[in-house]
């Protein structure tokens, strides 16, 4: 398909644009940092080169204009200024627009392109203008001016080269030293001369060459480039070129060669001799030389090889870039699905084995269970990505938005390497953007106001991500003016969510913000038409089976905490039974289980409360809630859960035990069923419904409030 290379380029280009933006933002803070300047330049250069190669000429030409200016920066001829960074960021956006356009989305505003190009040309000193224009037409696949920077960093490979020239090589006018010099130009070379074939002085013909060489060369070039060095002496010389380290392909194999192995491999030592010598204690190289088994030259060369390969390995391990493979996301989804199915079937296997009393079957089932667990853990981890890339995107948002509003705001982040499932990160993006926007728009005050209040002019928004148990907690903290609880209370009463007499603790009061239609009266800039309000945020978080909490102190700031479970697909649950049907609920929410006797229920006089040690805990009789027919058993179980800091009991018939739940969605028809978020298949093939505990609790609370209102009871 002809589309694929274009897609590949686009994908890479988007990534490069992200890198470009990050580097530019950092460069703004440190305009003299050469490393950052190089990063910016490299990103541009790669986009330009790849663009030209894939036929994205417009992008390539445009990027070239910017690159020309940045080349001058790189050479120290012009300095980085705020205007330049602003312009580069705009240019980056324009390139993105061009990419989007190439994918068939909105058209590119070409006048804008023109303006930007002109603006960039302003930076050029007068006499550079003409060459820059000429260069554009000379653009080709090779990517422009005599840049020595490779567009991509190739892997460094290490070769073992054996070079034995013919003895009359001097007579033919070739100086082997020149050849060795050429090899050194290709990369890092360790040359070892082998001199044992030099005749003794009396018999030596000084005009014959009796030296040969073993060379270890580490280079990005390939074998042919090395062969070319010897092209004129090939026919008369012995030349062997072997790759001994291919840029890390086999790094994970335990193939560190020992000195003796290398010598045996090179044919310089017999295995028996190696064995014999190894059984004594001295350093191998010394021993071999001492016993005249190997020429020191050979040992030297082998040591050189060993060291060179080791060094390469270490360098690679030290390098930041971790090698990775691109995998289409849906292939991973399929894999996760299959693993889910496997987990289900495996639990059936375990159940069956348990019932059979067959020792062999049991042990096999146990092993399958162990392997399945490991497979499950690894597979679910595959889609985990550090949240850092999302955080970086927000830096731009904060910068632009704060500028727009005339505020001074700094975005700080921590825990950028906290990992979450890829889909979770994607789904979190919009809610987080909205929360941050709120902080900037409504939270952080104007600089003057802050100063008067004794705060620093610059406000701070702090994003943090941290693992907690089997969840991730993302915290958005600002040092702005905090939530106005009176205003919220008033609005809640106005909307009928609260009555005058109600006295809610702050944490609950703030939750009312998420009610539909509660969004603030002022319109947030540049959000027009998207319909994103706090209620949409809440819904998005709920969809991820997460929770959101708000803490705020008037005048000091607000903290919003979003808690998301780490995996969407498989959760540890508690399996319960009500009248022949099975249900599961997330184990993470469960605190304990206690008994409830018919007597206790009677004693409570209609109030659904149970005493747990020294506290009264409300409970929800699920039979009633789910309208399940049948009699309540004499003894029921109350599963005490903790949701949003509140303890609520759920009454069931039996608590069966822990269960690995592979979540399956209910299907479109059942999407609006309240209180159930999915289903799972049990070991014996029956279906269990997954309870959505937060929803159940909320629903119950609302119902109770309405009931008390109606009854006029406080």
């Amino acid at each position: 398909m002809s589309e694929q290379p274009n897609d590949a380029f686009r994908e890479e280009a988007y990534e490069l644009l992200t890198e470009l933006e990050t580097a530019l933002l950092m460069l703004e803070e440190c305009p003299d940092d050469m490393e950052l300047i190089s990063r910016v330049f490299r990103a541009m250069h790669t986009i330009k080169g790849s663009g030209a190669m894939f036929g994205f000429d417009e992008i390539s030409a445009f990027t070239h204009e910017i690159e020309t200016v940045f080349d001058l920066v790189r050479n120290g001829e012009i300095a980085v200024t705020k205007e330049m960074v602003d312009l580069c960021l705009l240019a980056r956006d324009q390139i993105k627009a061009m990419l989007d356009a190439s994918a068939g989305e909105a058209r590119v505003d070409e006048t804008r392109t023109e303006h930007l190009v002109q603006a960039f040309r302003e930076f050029l000193p007068e006499n550079k203008e003409c060459p820059a224009q000429e260069q554009v037409s000379q653009e080709g696949v090779d990517g422009g001016q005599a840049q020595h920077e490779p567009a991509r960093k190739s892997a460094l490979k290490t070769y073992r080269i054996h070079f034995k020239p013919a003895s009359d090589i001097f007579a033919n006018g070739t100086n082997p030293l020149n050849l060795l010099r050429e090899l050194s130009d290709l990369g890092e070379a360790r040359v070892v001369a082998q001199v044992e074939e030099i005749a003794s002085l009396e018999n030596l013909d000084p005009e014959s060459c009796q030296v040969h060489w073993d060379i270890i060369l580490t280079t990005a070039e390939d074998k042919d480039a090395i062969r070319d060095v010897f092209i004129f002496v090939e026919d008369d010389s012995e030349i062997r070129i072997e790759m001994i380290d291919d840029g890390g392909y086999f790094d994970d194999e335990e193939s560190h060669k020992l000195l003796g192995e290398i010598l045996v491999e090179r044919g310089d030592l017999r295995p028996e001799d190696l064995e014999r010598v190894l059984s004594s204690r001295k350093r191998l190289g010394d021993l071999l030389v001492e016993q005249q088994l190997v020429q020191p030259g050979k040992v030297e060369a082998a040591v050189a090889e060993q060291q060179a390969v080791d060094r390469q390995r270490q360098t690679r391990q030290g390098q930041e870039a971790v090698s990775s493979i691109r995998v289409p996301a849906d292939r991973l989804d399929k894999l996760v699905d299959l693993v889910g199915e496997l987990v289900t079937v495996q639990s059936r296997l375990s159940q069956t084995a348990a019932g059979r009393e067959d020792a062999l079957l049991t042990s096999v089932a146990e092993e399958v269970e162990r392997l399945t667990e490991e497979l499950r853990d690894i597979t679910l981890n595959v889609r985990m990505l550090p949240i850092g890339s999302t955080f970086s995107k927000f830096k731009r948002l904060v910068r632009d938005l704060s500028r727009e509003l005339g505020k001074e705001i700094e975005l700080e982040t921590s825990g950028a390497d906290t990992e979450l499932d890829k889909t979770v990160i994607e789904k979190l993006n919009d809610p987080l953007v909205h929360i941050i926007r709120n902080s900037i728009d409504h939270g952080i005050e104007m600089p003057e106001v802050r100063q008067v209040a004794g705060k620093p002019r610059e406000g701070t928004v702090h994003l943090a991500a941290v693992h907690s148990g089997d969840s991730v907690i993302i915290e958005i903290r600002d040092d702005g003016k905090g939530l106005d609880r009176d205003a919220i209370r008033a609005k809640a009463i106005e909307r009928g969510l609260l009555s005058e007499a109600d006295d809610l603790p702050d944490s609950d009061l703030f939750q009312l913000i998420f009610a539909a239609g509660f969004s603030t009266a002022q319109n947030v800039t540049s959000v027009s038409g998207r319909g994103v309000g706090m209620d949409v945020v809440k819904r998005a978080i709920d969809a991820l089976r997460g929770s959101i909490q708000i803490q705020s102190e008037k005048g000091r700031g607000t903290v919003i905490r979003v808690k998301i479970p780490l995996t969407l697909a498989i959760i540890e649950s508690l399996l319960v039974k009500i009248e022949g049907d099975h249900y599961v609920l997330p184990l993470a929410l469960v605190e304990e289980c206690i008994e409830l006797t018919r007597q206790e229920v009677a004693d409570a006089h209609g109030r659904d409360l149970v005493r747990v040690r020294d506290q009264l805990v409300p409970y929800l009789p699920l039979r009633g809630w789910f309208a399940i027919e049948g009699e309540r058993p004499d003894i029921e179980q109350v599963v005490i859960t903790k949701v949003n800091g509140h303890r609520v009991g759920l009454v069931v018939d039996h608590v069966i035990g822990e269960h690995q739940t592979v979540i399956k969605s209910l299907g479109r028809m059942y999407r609006d069923v309240e209180g159930i978020s999915g289903a799972t298949i049990l070991g014996d093939g029956t279906v269990a419904l997954i309870m959505d505990v937060p929803h159940l609790v909320q629903g119950a609370e609302l119902a109770e409030r309405n009931a008390t209102h109606a009854a006029g009871v406080c």
């Binding site: 001097f170 100086n175 082997p176 030293l177 060795l180 010099r181 050194s184 360790r190 040359v191 070892v192 001369a193 001199v195 044992e196 030099i198 005749a199 003794s200 002085l201 009396e202 030596l204 000084p206 005009e207 060459c209 009796q210 030296v211 060489w213 060379i215 190289g285 010394d286 030389v289 001492e290 005249q292 020429q295 020191p296 030259g297 040992v299 030297e300 040591v303």
Partner: protein, 118 residues
């Protein structure tokens, strides 16, 4: 003009040392001439002391020659010392040609000593 002449100095114990103060170009062009002098010196003396500090150029053929000298000396139980190779044209050419050594030459009686090691 290259000079490969040597001076014989006889010590008190009758031990003869040939001192070479090598001058000019030590290359294939002059290699044969040097070789002949070295052969003679080796015949005559128990030790050859070569000073390479005033050599303007050295090439592979010369280095090869000196190795051959060392080998011959060792075979006869004689000593060769090469000095003055830390500067000038020596270090670069030695490194390029891969003659620098950690270990000794297998032909040396004193295995830690290589002609090229200091």
């Amino acid at each position: 003009m290259s000079d490969f002449s040597y001076e014989t100095i006889t010590g008190e114990d009758g031990w003869k040392t040939a001192h070479f103060s090598l001058q000019g170009e030590l290359t294939i062009a002059n290699a044969e001439a040097l070789r002949q002098n070295l052969v003679a010196a080796l015949e005559e003396c128990g030790e050859l002391a070569l000073d390479g500090s005033t050599v303007s150029e050295v090439d592979l053929a010369a280095m090869q020659l000196l190795c051959a000298l060392h080998r011959a000396a060792v075979a006869r139980g004689k000593t060769v010392v090469l000095r003055g190779i830390e500067d000038g044209c020596w270090p670069e050419t030695l490194a390029l040609a891969g003659f620098s050594r950690h270990e000794g030459c297998v032909h040396a009686t004193d295995k830690t000593k290589c002609l090229w090691c200091s």
